[in-house]
C-alpha cells in the first residue's frame, strides 16, 4: 500500500512538473501571445489551396483525356478555364512565389 502511494506521488509530481514546464522554462517571456494567422496569411493559404486545386485539376483532366474518360470536345472546353484559374491563383501569389520559386514540387513536371 505504501509503495503504491509513493509511486502515485512520484507520478503526480512528474505530471505537475511536465505541465508547468512552459512556465518554468520561460518565467518572463518577451511575448506570451499565441500566434494566429493574420488576414494576409489566411488569404495566402486560400490562394495556395486554389492554385494546388487548379493545377491538380489540370493534371487530372490531361490524364482523363489520355485514358478516354474525357472526349476531345470536353477537354477543349474545360482546359482553357482551368488554365485561367491556375494562372490567376499563381499571379495572385506572385510575390510569394518569387520568394521561393524552386522549392514547389507542384511546379515540377510530374506524370500522374
Amino acid at each position: 500500500m505504501a509503495w503504491a502511494l509513493v509511486l502515485a506521488a512520484v507520478l503526480a509530481v512528474l505530471a505537475v512538473v511536465f505541465v508547468a514546464r512552459p512556465f518554468l522554462r520561460e518565467p518572463t517571456p518577451a511575448s506570451d501571445r499565441l500566434d494566429e494567422p493574420g488576414e494576409a496569411e489566411r488569404r495566402r493559404l486560400g490562394l495556395v489551396e486554389e492554385r494546388d486545386r487548379a493545377l491538380a485539376a489540370l493534371k487530372e483532366l490531361e490524364f482523363d483525356h489520355r485514358t478516354g474518360k474525357v472526349s476531345d470536345e470536353d477537354y477543349r472546353r474545360q482546359v482553357g478555364a482551368l488554365r485561367r484559374r491556375a494562372a490567376e491563383a499563381l499571379r495572385a501569389l506572385e510575390p510569394r512565389v518569387d520568394a521561393a520559386p524552386s522549392r514547389h514540387p507542384v511546379d515540377r513536371e510530374r506524370v500522374p
Partner: protein, 661 residues
C-alpha cells in the same frame, strides 16, 4: 496495488480536465504558455493511463481476486491469454481501454501537429473534453479498481469469449471507434479557431483512414469469430452491437469520399463537418450500446448503470457539434458549385447519400426497440427482413456506383465519352448476368444482381488500372511493370482506394454466395448413417470425449466425401464449462478450395445413446469474405502509405518558413 490504479486514474482525470479548462482559456485568450501547458497535460495523461492499465493487467495475470473486476471476469483455471484479454471483456476494462487508446492517440496526434499551434490550441480542449468524460466515468462511476474480500474462485469468462479472436477483435474495434475522435477533434478545433481551410483535413487524413481500417478489420474479425465460434452458421446477424460498429464505419466511408470533393473542388465543407461529427457520435453510441446493456444483444454481457451518463454525453457532444457547425456556417460556404449531375463529384455525392441513408435506416432499426419501450412500454424490434430490404435497396446501387464512379470524369462527362468507357464493363456485366441466369441462379434476384453489379465493378477497376498504366506508358515510355508500379505509387490514395473497392466486390460476392445460394440440411444420425447435402456425403462414424483445461469436450467424427472420394474428417461437438455452468457449440468446417466455400457442421444435440442431430450448411464462396479482408488491408495500406513529395508540398503550403529552413 488497486490504490496505485485508482491514483493513476485520478491523475489522468486531473490532467485531461486541465487540458480541457486551461486549454480552452488559453485558446480563447491566446495565451501561448498556457496552451503549451495544456498540451503537455494531454501528453502526460497517456503515461498516467498506461500505469492504470498495467495495474489492471498485472491483477488479471495474477488472478488477484480481491479486484472485483478480476473476480467477475476470470477464474483460476482460465488460460493466461484469456485472463489478460478480460481487460476488454467487461465494462470497466473496456472504458479503461477507451481512455488508454484515446490518450495515446491524442498524445501522438498533438505531437505530430505541434507546429500548427493555432489549430492544435483548440484541438487540445476538444480531446480533453472527450477524455475527461471517460476518466470521470472510470474514477467515479465504473472503476476497475474496486476491491473486496477475494472469493475462492472467480466467475470465469463467458465461453463464447474464450476464443483467440477475443485477443484481436475488441481491441481492433476500439482502435477504430476511438480513432474517429481525432478527425472529429481537429474538425471542431478548425471551427473553433475559424480555420476552415484544409489544414485539419490534411492533419487527419491518415488518422481517418487508419480508424476506418481498424473498424473494418475489427468487424471482419468479429464476423469470422461469430462464424467459427457462436455456432449458428452465419457471420452477421444484424445484432444491435454489430450494427453499432457498422454505422460509424458507413459514416466514415461517406466522409472519406466526400472529403475528396472538398480537397479537389472546395465543395461540401458543411457536409464534411456533419459527417465527421456523425461518425464520432456514432462511435460513442456504439460504445454505449455495447456496454450499457440497453438492448438485447449477444454482445451485451452485462446490464449496467452507465447508460444514462453515456446518453447524456452523446447528447452534449451532438448539440455541441451542431451548434458549432451552425455558428460557423458563413465560413463554410463553398465558392464552387456542382457543374453537372453526370460527373465524378456527382457520383461521390450519390454514394454519400446512399451510405448515409443506409447508416440512418440501420440506426432506426437499432433505436426502434429502445424508443418503443420508452414511449409505449413494450419492446418491439425489427429483424433481418427489415435490414435485408434496406441493404438491397441502398447496398446494390452502391455496388453499381462503385463501378460507375471511376469511369466518370471530374466536373463534366459527355455521353459519347461515357459510352466509350462504359462499353467493356457493361458488356462484362451483361455476359455474367446472362450466363448466371442460364445456369439457374435466377431464383434469387438480389443474388443475381449482386453478382452482375460486382462483375461490372470488377471490370471497371481492372480497366482503371489497365488504362492508367497504358496512359503512363504513352507519356513516360516506361515498361508495363514500371508504369504500373509508378502509377500506383504516385497516386496511392486513388489506386489504394480501387484496391479497397476490389475488396468490397469480393465481400459482396462472398455474402451473396453464402447467403442467397446456401444449402441447409438437418438430420438425426445414428453411428454409421450418412446424409447428402449439395453434392457432399457426410457419414457419422463415432463419438469421443476429452478433458480440456477448463471444459469437458464431446466431439463427433463425421467423414465428408464428394463424388465418392473422401475429402475431410470433421469433429463438430460441444464444450461444457463447469465454472461458468454453460455449454457451447463447437462447429467443424471443411474449406473446399474448389468452390472457395465451406461445409459447415453443427452438432445441434448429442443424445446419451450416441444419436447425433447434425446440422449442415454448404456455403458457396464464403471464404471470399475473409480474403476480402486481406485485400481491404492491402488497399488501405497503399492509400495510407506516406508520399514524400506530397508531404513536402503540404509542408510548404502550411509552414512555408519551416519548409524552407
Amino acid at each position: 496495488m488497486a490504490a496505485l490504479g485508482r491514483a493513476a486514474l485520478l491523475i489522468a482525470l486531473g490532467l485531461v480536465a486541465y487540458a480541457l479548462v486551461a486549454g480552452s482559456y488559453a485558446a480563447w485568450k491566446r495565451r501561448r504558455r498556457l496552451a503549451l501547458s495544456a498540451q503537455n497535460a494531454l501528453l502526460a495523461a497517456f503515461p498516467a493511463t498506461v500505469v492504470a492499465a498495467v495495474v489492471l493487467w498485472v491483477a488479471l495475470g495474477r488472478r488477484d481476486l480481491t479486484f472485483q473486476y478480476v473476480a467477475q471476469h476470470t477464474s483460476h483455471s482460465l488460460p493466461l491469454g484469456y485472463a489478460l484479454a478480460a481487460f476488454w471483456g467487461g465494462q470497466e476494462g473496456s472504458l479503461l481501454l477507451w481512455l488508454l487508446i484515446l490518450t495515446g492517440y491524442a498524445a501522438l496526434a498533438v505531437w505530430l501537429n505541434r507546429r500548427s499551434r493555432e489549430l492544435v490550441a483548440w484541438v487540445v480542449p476538444v480531446l480533453g473534453l472527450v477524455a475527461t468524460f471517460f476518466a470521470f466515468m472510470l474514477c467515479f462511476v465504473s472503476s476497475p479498481f474496486v476491491t473486496a474480500p477475494a472469493p475462492s474462485d472467480g466467475a470465469g469468462m463467458v465461453p463464447s469469449l474464450q476464443n483467440p479472436y477475443m485477443l484481436a477483435h475488441p481491441p481492433m474495434l476500439y482502435l477504430g471507434y476511438v480513432g474517429l475522435t481525432i478527425p472529429y477533434a481537429f474538425a471542431m478545433g478548425a471551427l473553433l479557431s475559424r480555420r476552415t481551410d484544409e489544414r485539419w483535413i490534411v492533419a487527419t487524413r491518415r488518422w481517418t483512414l487508419a480508424a476506418w481500417t481498424f473498424l473494418g478489420v475489427g468487424q471482419l474479425l468479429g464476423a469470422h469469430w461469430a462464424y467459427v465460434e457462436i455456432g449458428w452458421g452465419g457471420y452477421y446477424a444484424w445484432d444491435p452491437v454489430e450494427n453499432a460498429a457498422l454505422m460509424p464505419w458507413l459514416a466514415a466511408t461517406a466522409f472519406l469520399h466526400s472529403v475528396m470533393i472538398q480537397e479537389k473542388r472546395g465543395m461540401l465543407k458543411v457536409w464534411n463537418m456533419v459527417l465527421v461529427a456523425l461518425a464520432f457520435c456514432l462511435s460513442l453510441f456504439g460504445t454505449f450500446l455495447t456496454r450499457s446493456g440497453v438492448v438485447n444483444s449477444v454482445h451485451s454481457f452485462s446490464q449496467s448503470s452507465i447508460g444514462g451518463w453515456f446518453l447524456g454525453f452523446i447528447v452534449v457532444m451532438t448539440l455541441f457539434s451542431v451548434a458549432l457547425v451552425y455558428l460557423r456556417l458563413p465560413l463554410l460556404r463553398a465558392r464552387t458549385r456542382l457543374e453537372s449531375l453526370v460527373s465524378r463529384e456527382a457520383t461521390f455525392l450519390y454514394n454519400n447519400l446512399l451510405l448515409v441513408a443506409l447508416c440512418l435506416t440501420i440506426l432506426w432499426g437499432v433505436v426502434y426497440p429502445i424508443l418503443s419501450e420508452a414511449l409505449r412500454g413494450e419492446t418491439r424490434s425489427v429483424s433481418k427482413p427489415y435490414y435485408d430490404f434496406f441493404l438491397h435497396t441502398f447496398g446494390l446501387p452502391l455496388l453499381l456506383l462503385m463501378g460507375i464512379g471511376p469511369l466518370v470524369a471530374w466536373r463534366r462527362a459527355s455521353l459519347r465519352a461515357l459510352g466509350r468507357t462504359f462499353l467493356v464493363p457493361f458488356a462484362v456485366a451483361v455476359a455474367v448476368g446472362v450466363a448466371l441466369l442460364a445456369a439457374g441462379f435466377g431464383d434469387s434476384l438480389p443474388g443475381l444482381l449482386t453478382y452482375t453489379f460486382a462483375a461490372f465493378a470488377a471490370a471497371s477497376i481492372v480497366l482503371e488500372f489497365q488504362r492508367g498504366t497504358a496512359a503512363r506508358r504513352s507519356i513516360a515510355g516506361e515498361s508495363r511493370l514500371r508504369a504500373f508500379t509508378m502509377l500506383v505509387s504516385r497516386n496511392r490514395r486513388r489506386y489504394g482506394g480501387y484496391i479497397v473497392h476490389a475488396a468490397v466486390v469480393l465481400l459482396a460476392i462472398g455474402i451473396a454466395g453464402s447467403s442467397a445460394y446456401q444449402t441447409i440440411r438437418e438430420r438425426a444420425l445414428a453411428r454409421g448413417q450418412s446424409m447428402e447435402v449439395a453434392g457432399y456425403t457426410l457419414t457419422y462414424t463415432g463419438l469421443a470425449t476429452r478433458q480440456l483445461a477448463n471444459a469437458q469436450a464431446v466431439r463427433a467424427t463425421v467423414d465428408v466425401s464428394r463424388g465418392g472420394s473422401h475429402v475431410a474428417t470433421l469433429h463438430p461437438g460441444k464444450n461444457s464449462y463447469p465454472v461458468e455452468q454453460q455449454v457451447s457449440n463447437e462447429v467443424s468446417i471443411y474449406h473446399d478450395p474448389r468452390t472457395v466455400g465451406d461445409v459447415f457442421t453443427i452438432a445441434d444435440q448429442i443424445d446419451p445413446n450416441g444419436t447425433l442431430y447434425l446440422k449442415v450448411l454448404v456455403k458457396p464462396l464464403v471464404n471470399l469474405i475473409w480474403i476480402a479482408g486481406l485485400v481491404f488491408v492491402a488497399g488501405s495500406l497503399v492509400a495510407m502509405w506516406p508520399d514524400a513529395l506530397e508531404q513536402r508540398r503540404l509542408a510548404e503550403r502550411y509552414e512555408p518558413e519551416a519548409a524552407l529552413a
